[in-house]
Symmetry: D2
Subunit: 284 residues, 4 copies
């Protein structure tokens, strides 16, 4: 959650050393910036920081903050960014046949639960089209039955034109190629089911059923070249019992997936996530 | 969850005594009914039973089952009902300004997560109208600023015409009068926030904030004459921390409310709930 | 939970067919047995039932119930058992260096939380000896550095002499051989950590750390020939954040392991578990 | 969780203003202190900070750190303290007849799960005496049947002699008088059950049963003059169903109470809690 009166969010990470907090917060003090929430964490030689607060002095644009901080960042070898908490992230959603995840995103966008600016829905199936159309949201049906290079080219053209801050795969059931991932310059968040233990191969739900699994989970993660192996953002589980058939398990799985995806998106919109070397720091 | 091949659900409760299971399951055996799931529970002299299964013999209508069982029910002083698991319950939803609960119901209705047949939305505010209208669902704006007797009369006329199986109060913020409750013959499910401990009086979120409460909960219950005191169907909580402002707490509260309400509705549609003397038996 | 006035628990499973509930509950009705709780579940052609209740007629010994039911069981090809809810199961606990799981069992045995009769502790390390000795509980230190056949022989001799109802592996870190498992005639319950997703190979905690895993879980299961692959009894998870170091994760893992193991044992002592073909039915 | 290599923990709070982080972290930078984890939070004009890290320069005693920081604290009107993460807090435990909470503390003390130095157990009942004695821990039986002033005087004498850092009420069932609380200069942590909604008056479990409550919770809090109204440290709940009798509910309640109490103590030993005006800031 962001503080109600926050006006600026700052995220940064750099090699760890003594005095970083003093250097960074000294900059903000000089700018008459009141820090309402600061989280800093160091691990294995890397320093991560998130700051949010209000401008006690004159209001300055994000661009101004970014420029003013640049000399410090260069000195500290820091990757950093400034954000306006009221800015809505532009999002493009990919989906397929399964409706529960995409409908959750639509519903939270409509209710304002998720502070996003949904710009388009891209799907390789038409099931969701009537609802998306009713909501006056651009819908792009791009079949994925033909040549991969061709349909990915079409998807990329749409992304290029919209230039979203984030792509959400809301149960989009087609693997993205390395070429596609190399061309996309915005983060991609994906959701998939998870089991304890995990079941490899065909029909994991049937396998989980046979072992009498008691929990069904979901994992939201950034998409990287390693399929389903990107940095984890959020996870949760739900309890099931022996009376759950395989189809019940799938319904429960869909339910927890949509909740975990929505929570991951909320964390992202609140600028609480830093990715670093296959791992995420997700501030509270 | 109902078993995938279930064709009939039976619910009943009566004074407890030796031999009830044998009497009831004997009836089903004679009818060549295969019991796939049976839960029976006795407490404080009352016997509760839920059965679901498939007809190995000839298919019989719900009405036929109801009539055939009647002599046994009379003998056992049992309240009972038979249901078709594939039948969608007709539901009317009441709401007010807050959108997250009603949108959750709409979204789960659209995705098929909730097996309901949503027939109308009644609200005392117009905020949800554009979405409801886009979904081609009848919307009734009934202001509650005038005489209670008048606007409740309007609401009752709509309910009478539709004759739903269930009324859902999805954050409908107006108290229903005793007269209204006496006239409505279908069950009403309501949702409200819950705190540990509870905070009485104005602005419970502010009070909860001041105590540093760590959990925010929600309770779904049947509506009875005692406001917010009806039999509890489902409850859940979500964890918060000190960094949650009062407005963050309200957002989290809205989130858990919608999930708890949806779960309660699912239990209801699966015919897993028996009400008895201010208490519910909710079968797994 | 067992009903407070329950005097007999019955567990059974057999091939499914129409009329089983009527046949079984008819037997109990004839014996003037009042069924307080009955759960029956059928899946994939197998029928599972658990009954608990009180004897309205004359009290009969477990042995008498077992004999009287035998003809029905033979006819239905049913595996079944009768239990006295007040009987304490005789348990032998195996442990190693890690103390949190064995101490949890000792603590719950002392407080009466777990209705067990702990008969001995067998360990391949001496760390727990002082505490076990203070509690006047037999302690057997059996090193596992020598020949497997020899130390397993020693363990088996102790189990043979005590004849427990259950063996609990409370973080016993030595794999049991197929020979050992073939010789032990009582159920064995084991606990191990679980991750979403699972991490194979050395140091799963380090791997989980690198992916930024957000949940650490534990799974309690029956031990079968397939190592860590037996029927699952209970699972749970606990949430962690980026600020948890690998050693913190291990501590949290130990914590959830002991809770899950204790819950699994409670289910077992309440006679709520039926094993069938690699899967468990765990009644509520 | 504290970072593995942390050598110093700093806690402080003061009136909020611009530049506090810079002022405080500047002090640490000058002392060549490497901040591994920093959490800062401001709310309603109050600034809260927790820092942990390692001394890159010369090791300095807690006392030295405290003295060096004093001028800054005076200037900022800050309440503050420095701690050694390896120091074990001296704890005195109060208990009564109920064993599950005190046994949990004993068990976690023995296993090292809780980094505490348990110095004595004070009880108004003798049930726990045999176990405490076996563990060579001083046990004081102080009956609470006579004059309050007298038995509280006895308790205070023991506390004065030991001078613990913390008193834990592990289901101690006697209300502490205002006089007692005014004389005790160390924090007191208490645990009690919680319901959603709460039930006032006699036998809350019976009332909760009658409403069909689905969650049983527990709240750990600091003890203040307002009974059961002190700042909340930790809360959790566990799910129950209709099949739980009142005595089952009490057992489940005891279970969640002991887990919540242990978690609250862990947070306290990790120096993650700041109390301020009836509210706690509990850092992650």
């Amino acid at each position: 959650m962001t503080q109600p009166s926050s006006e600026i969010i700052f995220l940064g990470h750099c090699p760890d050393r003594v005095g970083l907090d003093a250097r960074i917060t000294g900059f903000f003090a000089d700018e008459l910036f009141n820090i309402l929430d600061l989280s800093q964490h160091s691990e294995r030689g890397r320093f991560f920081i998130r700051i949010e607060g209000s401008e006690e002095g004159e209001r300055q644009a994000i661009q101004t903050w970014t420029e003013k901080f640049f000399p410090i960042a260069r000195e500290l070898e820091m990757e950093y960014s400034f954000h306006d908490p009221l800015e809505r992230l532009r999002v493009v959603m990919f989906c397929s046949k399964t409706l529960s995840c995409p409908l959750e995103i639509l519903s939270r966008w409509l209710s304002g639960d998720l502070r996003i600016d949904l710009r388009a829905v891209i799907s390789n199936h038409g099931e969701i089209a009537p609802i998306v159309n009713k909501l006056d949201l651009p819908f792009h049906l791009i079949a994925t039955t033909g040549e991969r290079a061709e349909f990915e080219e079409q998807q990329l053209r749409i992304l290029d034109r919209i230039g979203p801050d984030l792509v959400v795969l809301a149960r989009y059931m087609k693997i993205l190629s390395g070429t596609f991932l190399a061309s996309v310059r915005m983060p991609i968040i994906n959701i998939h089911h998870s089991f304890l233990p995990s079941f490899i191969g065909n029909d994991p739900y049937e396998q989980a059923y046979r072992r009498g699994v008691k929990l069904i989970g979901a994992t939201a993660h950034f998409v990287t070249r390693e399929l389903d192996e990107g940095p984890i953002i959020h996870q949760d589980v739900v309890r099931i019992g022996h009376q759950f058939s395989v189809s019940d398990m799938k319904q429960v799985g869909a339910d927890i997936e949509k909740q975990v995806l929505a929570s991951a998106l909320r964390k992202f919109t609140e600028r609480k996530i830093i990715q670093w070397q296959g791992r995420t720091v997700v501030f509270h």
